[in-house]
Each structure stands twice: as structure tokens, then as C-alpha cells.
């Protein structure tokens, strides 16, 4: 039974389209096939050049998740917005475009929001501009290249403006940038704006691109792994950084959108640790609150949850704190996986990617294996699946976590259409 407060106020939202671009594939189909087959997208940065596309030069070893191959250029009219981030975003947008056009015809462009999460924004272009200035003498005569534009490249919301230009959408447009929870929180913003009556649909998601700042920054924090990351394993040694985009179209619940639903967004829980800028509260208190709120909003009991996609970054502290939170809310039998072993930590795109992996899992009743989870850390007392699972009953509901610097936590609850129909249909 859904909490009556939410039943009256908060809609369940059909997810009518989704797209993924990342190191596992340049399309949604490629990415989900890799997930189903248990193939990682992570490579040592020294091997990137052999794959074509992005090349990096770093003074330390690590693995990264980079979109393979060259990225298609933006249209000539959009060149002012050109960054690696924008190109990855444009690739993802292409896949949801037919559904978006249907939604525009259904609701009108003014009634559809653009809500994107990112932690890097167009920093990849800013780094190129800064290096050019530095190579030219820095304060002694260096110049920032004339083609670099702060507003259309560096600015976080350049993404939002580019999507407006490319699609004609004109609803509320903004970026949520709360580091690694950014693209989980956009789902809550969409639900709120819909409840306010300002919109009928929202293009939500997250986009981040690889750049030196994040790689050097996490290295400086001492949590960047030299090797492929191993969430929940006893020999885990930190994170890998990945890039990518995940976009999802959420629409108001009607007979029409119900027929097109890939899955449903039932609830989103948000919380703040109020503890430390970069370390989780050790007992997992804030994470627990976010999960409990997602359950309450979705009208869910812990026993409804068939899968938990953890934030699971593979740092010693995070994985233990998160597993305590999961155990406290869901017990220790619910299957738990981390997908960071496939994608790396996509930072601002992590929440959106997890949400789409969750939607895929409930649609197919398939749980991918948690890559790199063995040998499992005995301090992690939840049911981490080192092997995947196919069949064996409907998953029904999957939850996914995203936690961030600043103690920002978010948890999403996503259900299959069959589960929603069996529970008395849509709201």
C-alpha cells in the first residue's frame, strides 16, 4: 500500500524512452548487451589510443571508462557549444529523439522540462583553453583561444541550452550539479515540477566526460585505483573514473504513456549526511534515510525490492558504509550489485546510468553480475552477487543509490510495468 500522502500527491511516472552512451558501448543496445554479457568497458589509460577516440596522458597508472571511437561532430549551427561533453550528450539525445518528438506533439514543447545532472560540465574544453594559455606563457603573454566561450562551453547549463536548441524544448531547463548524486536528483526535480503542474514530461539524465581535473583530484584524495576497480571485494583499492550519458524521458501517467512505458519511476529519496565533504557518515545514516524515503514515496515494503544497484564505488570506506545502510533498510538477502566495475564511476552521470540499468533489469528480469566482487569483503554483509542471475521470478522493483561529495544522497525506486499493473495500475 502506498503512503496515502504520496498517493494523493505524487504521480508514478512512466519511463517512455531511455538512452545510454559510455565505455561499454556507443548505443543503448551495445551498452545493455555488454551488461548482460558481463563485459567491462574499463581499460588502462595507456591502452586508450589503440581503441581510437580519446587519448590521455597521465603521470600515474589507472583504468578509465571512455566512450570508444571518435565522437560525431555537432551540427554547424551548434559549433559554439562544442565540447566532448556536448558530443556525448548529443549522441545520447539522438536515440531518444523519436520519443521526444512524440512527447512534444502530445504535451507541447513548453510543458517538457530539461533537467540534466553533471559534475564536470564542459571542463574538458576549459582544460584545453587553459593549457593553450599556459603553453603560450601563462601570465606572461599567454592567451585563451578565441574560439573558447565560457557561456556555451564551460557553463554547466550549456548542456541544457544545447538540448533546447537541438529539440525546441522550452520548459524549465536547469542542471543539477551535486557531484556524484546529480543525475539521480534530477528525477526528483521532475516529479516535483510535475506535481506543481508546470510540466507534463521531462527529459532527465546525466552527462559527464573524462578530464584531467577529476583524475588528478581523486588521485590527490588517494582513492583512485591503479587497477580495475573491485566494488565490495576485500582487495578493492579505490575507484576508476568513467564518462558517459544516460537520458530518460518521464511522462505524466495516461493510457497512452502507459502503453509506451518501458518501466516506472515510483519514488526518489534524497538526504544530506551533514557529516564530511568527502567521506560518508560511517554508519550509513544519510544513505539509509534516502533509501527509506524512496520506499515511502513509492509505497514500497523492503520485501518488494528485488535488486539494489549500489553506489558501490570500490573505496574501502564507501562500500562498507553503504552495505550497512542497505542491510539496515532492506536486510541482507536482497541481491546487491555495483556496476562501477563495468563503467567506472561516471560521477555526474552515475545516477542516471544506474537508473537505466535498473529499468533494464526489471524489464528483463535479469541481474548482471557485480564485476570484481570476489573475494568479497567479510565486512560487507549484504548479498552481493558475484554471478549474474536470469529467470527465477520477477524482480518487480529495483532501487539504485548515488552518493556524493558534500554528503548528498539519492535513491531511486523503479518498477516494471507488470509490477505496477499487478499492484492496481498506475496512479
Amino acid at each position: 500500500m502506498r503512503d496515502p500522502w504520496y498517493e494523493e500527491r505524487v504521480p508514478r511516472l512512466p519511463i517512455t524512452a531511455m538512452s545510454l552512451v559510455g565505455s561499454m558501448g556507443r548505443t543503448t543496445a551495445e551498452t545493455l548487451a555488454a551488461l548482460d554479457e558481463g563485459r567491462t568497458g574499463l581499460v588502462a589509460w595507456t591502452d586508450l589510443a589503440a581503441r581510437g577516440g580519446l587519448s590521455l596522458s597521465l603521470p600515474f597508472p589507472t583504468f578509465v571508462g571512455a566512450v570508444p571511437g571518435a565522437l560525431p561532430e555537432l551540427a554547424p549551427a551548434d559549433q559554439a557549444y562544442d565540447t566532448r561533453l556536448a558530443r556525448i550528450g548529443a549522441m545520447a539525445l539522438g536515440e531518444v529523439r523519436p520519443a521526444l518528438d512524440r512527447a512534444i506533439a502530445r504535451w507541447g514543447a513548453r510543458r517538457i522540462a530539461v533537467l540534466i545532472g553533471t559534475s564536470t560540465g564542459g571542463l574538458d574544453a576549459t582544460e584545453v583553453a587553459f593549457k593553450s594559455w599556459s603553453d603560450g606563457g601563462g601570465p606572461d603573454g599567454g592567451v585563451v583561444p578565441a574560439g573558447f566561450d565560457l557561456a556555451t562551453q564551460h557553463d554547466f547549463n550549456a548542456l541544457g541550452e544545447l538540448i533546447r536548441r537541438m529539440t525546441g524544448l522550452s520548459g524549465p531547463t536547469y542542471v543539477v550539479s551535486t557531484a556524484c548524486s546529480s543525475s539521480g536528483k534530477v528525477h526528483a526535480s521532475a516529479m516535483r515540477l510535475m506535481q506543481l503542474g508546470l510540466i507534463d514530461a521531462a527529459l532527465v539524465g546525466g552527462i559527464d566526460s573524462l578530464c584531467k581535473m577529476t583524475l588528478h583530484g581523486f588521485r590527490g584524495l588517494g582513492i583512485l585505483s591503479d587497477t580495475q576497480c573491485k566494488p565490495f571485494a576485500s582487495d578493492r583499492a579505490g575507484i576508476n573514473i568513467g564518462e558517459g550519458a544516460g537520458l530518460m524521458l518521464l511522462e505524466r501517467d495516461t493510457a497512452e504513456t502507459r502503453a509506451e512505458a518501458l518501466a516506472y519511476l515510483l519514488g526518489v529519496g534524497e538526504s544530506s549526511d551533514a557529516y564530511n565533504m568527502s567521506s560518508p557518515e560511517p554508519s550509513g545514516r544519510g544513505a539509509k534515510e534516502a533509501m527509506q524515503r524512496a520506499l515511502a514515496m513509492g509505497g514500497l515494503a523492503p520485501t518488494d525490492v528485488g535488486l539494489l544497484i549500489a553506489h558501490g564505488t570500490a573505496t574501502p570506506q564507501n562500500d562498507v558504509a553503504e552495505s550497512m545502510a542497505i542491510e539496515g533498510v532492506l536486510g541482507n538477502e536482497v541481491p546487491v550489485i555495483s556496476t562501477k566495475g563495468y563503467t567506472g564511476h561516471q560521477l555526474g552521470a552515475a545516477g542516471a546510468t544506474s537508473a537505466m540499468f535498473a529499468a533494464h533489469a526489471v524489464r528483463t528480469n535479469r541481474i548482471p553480475r557485480s564485476l570484481g566482487a570476489e573475494p568479497k569483503d567479510p565486512a560487507v554483509r549484504v548479498n552481493v552477487l558475484a554471478e549474474g542471475r536470469t529467470g527465477g521470478g520477477a524482480l518487480g522493483v529495483a532501487m539504485c543509490n548515488a552518493f556524493a561529495f558534500g554528503g548528498s544522497n539519492v535513491c531511486l525506486a523503479i518498477a516494471s510495468s507488470e509490477w505496477v499493473a499487478a499492484r492496481g495500475g498506475a496512479s
Partner: protein
């Protein structure tokens, strides 16, 4: 939409320690950094002036509204965010030894103000950090209105941008006069009017026409550098609320399809 009220306002800018000083045009050149008393100094080490401006604007607005800083929801919104800290990190990568300070890196995220504010106050309530270029104030207001409409209670919007540091300021315009000055503003939205609400927030209205940001506020011409700050898009609302005007005020200017709010009596 449930009935909502604006219950607190604030402003902090270099030269102007409060909204009241700004309204009077009482410029004080000694005011150069925001005190940000709601975050302990040890937590502010390695923070940018923008982080302190965010905290100061939020704290002043919450105090003016008589709300509790330990439980209020906080919404921080900015165009370029922590660009000062980011430039320091880029300098270390491209002109230094590449070893980034962990403290600087933590404070470079767009939600640094959000995180430090919640830690400083022990506030575990909702918090977020938004960015939307010229629409940044509008974004913060829409998120706050939607949040308070959903849950009830109070939310403070803190909207701020600081000066753009060299060398990235080169990409903003060739002369100092074209660059922006720092500015932060705060607005508290509440589901209960309390004893002294400033205005009723009756409705959110989508506008079809692009609206130009006025050149004047509080009866005088705005410094062009302040006007170039995205937080200046809050000034027409601050002026309308403080003058008790009952009218429709746009939340974003010089952009397509902005949103406005309809103000009722306080």
C-alpha cells in the same frame, strides 16, 4: 499549487553587507568578504569567496524569515559556481606539480556551499546545487517552489556568482568594465506565512515574451558589472517584494520563454 509565501530576503555583495545597505545605496569599500557565520571557520579553510557568499546570503535570508537554519531546505544556484577554485586546480595541473590539494578538490564541486552549509549547521534536510546560466535564479526559485509545494515547510534559495578569475576572464570580454562583480541574494519560500510574511506567492506563470533586465533597481542605475551577474536577475523580485507591489515579476531576463511569479499581498 498550495498557498506559499515569501518570508525572507537578503543580499550580500562586495561593498554591500546587507540588502538594507544595497537598497539605500550605502556602498562601503571595506566590505570585501562575506562572513558566512553559519559555517565554522575550520570548515571554511580552502573555500572560495563564492562559498562564503552562498552561506552569507542564505543565513541572512533565513534569519530575516525567522526560520531554523538547522532544518530548512537549502537550494544553491549559480552560473559558473566554484570557478575560482577550479582555476587554482588547473594551474596546479598545467603549471605546477600536478598534485592537487585534497581540500581544494573537495571544495571545487558545484555543491561545495551546499555541503559546507549542511555540515556547518548539522542540517540533514534537503539540499541541492543548481546551474542554469542566466536562468540560475529562475531555476532555484522553481526548484524551491516545487519542493515546498510538495512537502510544505521552508526552503531558502541562495543565488550567487563571483568575479571570473584570470585567465578565463579573457573569454568574457576584453575590458574590466565588461566583466562582472560578485553578487549573492537569498529568498525564503514558506508554506506557512508566519507572523510577518513579505508577500504571497500566488502563482508561477510561463511568459511567452523575452523580458529585458532593467537597468535600474531601488531607484538608481545599476552598476553594469553587477547587472552582468546572473544573480542580478533576482533584483526585480527583491524590489517588488520590498515595495509590497502586487504584480507579476519575471524570474529570468534576456532569455527565451522565462517563468514569472505572481505576487499577492503579504
Amino acid at each position: 499549487m498550495r498557498p506559499l509565501w515569501i518570508t525572507g530576503l537578503s543580499l550580500w555583495a562586495p561593498g554591500y553587507p546587507s540588502l538594507e545597505a544595497f537598497m539605500r545605496g550605502a556602498h562601503d569599500p571595506s566590505v570585501d568578504d562575506a562572513p558566512c557565520a553559519w559555517v565554522p571557520p575550520r570548515l571554511l579553510r580552502g573555500s572560495s569567496r563564492l562559498t562564503r557568499m552562498f552561506g552569507e546570503a542564505a543565513a541572512q535570508a533565513v534569519t530575516a524569515a525567522g526560520r531554523d537554519p538547522k532544518t530548512i531546505a537549502t537550494i544553491y544556484t549559480s552560473s559558473y559556481g566554484e570557478i575560482e577554485t577550479m582555476v587554482l586546480l588547473l594551474d596546479t595541473i598545467f603549471r605546477g606539480d600536478g598534485q592537487l590539494s585534497p581540500m581544494r578538490f573537495k571544495n571545487s564541486v558545484h555543491n561545495a556551499g551546499s555541503g559546507l552549509g549542511s555540515i556547518g549547521q548539522g542540517n540533514t534536510a534537503f539540499s541541492t546545487a543548481l546551474a542554469a546560466g542566466r536562468r540560475s535564479f529562475e531555476a532555484g526559485m522553481l526548484e524551491a517552489i516545487a519542493l515546498v509545494n510538495e512537502r510544505g515547510g521552508d526552503a531558502v534559495v541562495s543565488c550567487a556568482d563571483d568575479v571570473i578569475p584570470a585567465p578565463l576572464s579573457m573569454a568574457e570580454g576584453p575590458t574590466e568594465a565588461e566583466r562582472r562583480a560578485g553578487l549573492s541574494v537569498g529568498v525564503v519560500i514558506s508554506s506557512e506565512p508566519g507572523q510577518a510574511p513579505l508577500a504571497e506567492l500566488a502563482r508561477v506563470v510561463p511568459l511567452e515574451e523575452r523580458v529585458s533586465l532593467p537597468h535600474e533597481a531601488f531607484g538608481r542605475v545599476l552598476d553594469e558589472r553587477l547587472r552582468r551577474n546572473p544573480a542580478a536577475h533576482a533584483l526585480p523580485l527583491l524590489e517588488a517584494v520590498t515595495s509590497r507591489a502586487q504584480r507579476t515579476v519575471s524570474l529570468a531576463f534576456d532569455v527565451s520563454a522565462p517563468y514569472a511569479i505572481e505576487l499577492g499581498p503579504g
